[in-house]
Subunit: 163 residues, 2 copies
């Protein structure tokens, strides 16, 4: 069994989120610069808001913040930015929650598995080779060709079990 790859871990007690967030933004800037993509102020701000915590964020919560900051934000404002960010792999949508989380491996092609703690709300992202592989092979044996995987795992994280 190959080692599981944790893309976004559950936070350690000493997690410095401002550092974490800053690194996300720098990476995104860099990624876009390299490819001639435009991480406009709006898109950058939405990315920041998604990454405000390690919990899933709702589109309309982002909208509310934008509206408070500046007149004229409407649903398309948010959804377009989210579309861009998803296309570049900076954020993921959690289908089972209609909510968005930042991606821990921006720009790196990967399949994701999300662990979602329903106590504290925190999301961890895995890119586990074995899981993708196993599902692929099972599908394959049924003659099914996989193009997209949605794997969302709800439960209770370690810290919340301890508490």
């Amino acid at each position: 069994m190959k080692e599981k790859q944790v893309v976004t871990p559950f936070r350690s007690v000493d997690h410095q989120h401002s550092t974490c967030l800053n690194s996300v933004l720098v990476t995104a800037e860099h990624y876009c610069q390299q490819r001639g993509l435009k991480l406009t102020p709006l898109r950058r701000r939405v990315l920041e808001l998604v990454w405000k915590t390690h919990e899933p964020v709702k589109a309309y919560d982002i909208l509310q913040t934008l509206q408070a900051e500046k007149k004229g934000a409407a649903p398309p404002t948010v959804y377009r930015a989210l579309d861009f960010l998803q296309q570049q792999g900076f954020v993921h949508k959690l289908e089972s929650m209609n909510a968005y989380v930042g991606c821990g491996a921006p720009g790196q092609h990967h399949t994701s598995q999300f662990l979602i703690c329903h106590i504290c709300g925190v999301v961890a992202e895995l890119d586990d080779y074995d899981i993708g592989e196993l599902i692929g092979s099972k599908a394959d044996s049924l003659g099914f060709k996989v193009s997209q995987l949605t794997i969302e795992i709800k439960g209770v994280c370690g810290s919340c079990q301890a508490a």
Copy 2:
């Protein structure tokens, strides 16, 4: 590797859907009778409509049909029936599509993995031991206790690849 368990297969060319549907209804009736649950005409009708095909069905499409059949159906009519059917394990919700499919193993406790063909729309349901097991063990090694799994696999089914 244990054998994959296919709960709802992709249909064979000679699939007799009326028989399939009838069997689903009989099973549900029986299941409810045994437990003193009420498969009311409304719930039964919604179950029928979900199982009208092997493709995911949208709540508002069901609503439309109900409204055509009988005055007075409203969103809660449908959502309540769907809730009941989901609780009894007669239907599943596909989170990534906001749509509903009939369950191939009604009343039997299981985790599901859905294979969804984006060409023909047909959904197959698996209850694969290995997948659940692997995900459980990976989560476990991160100290995460799984309570609910959402696994939805999009791609192209065998027949559609052939065609």
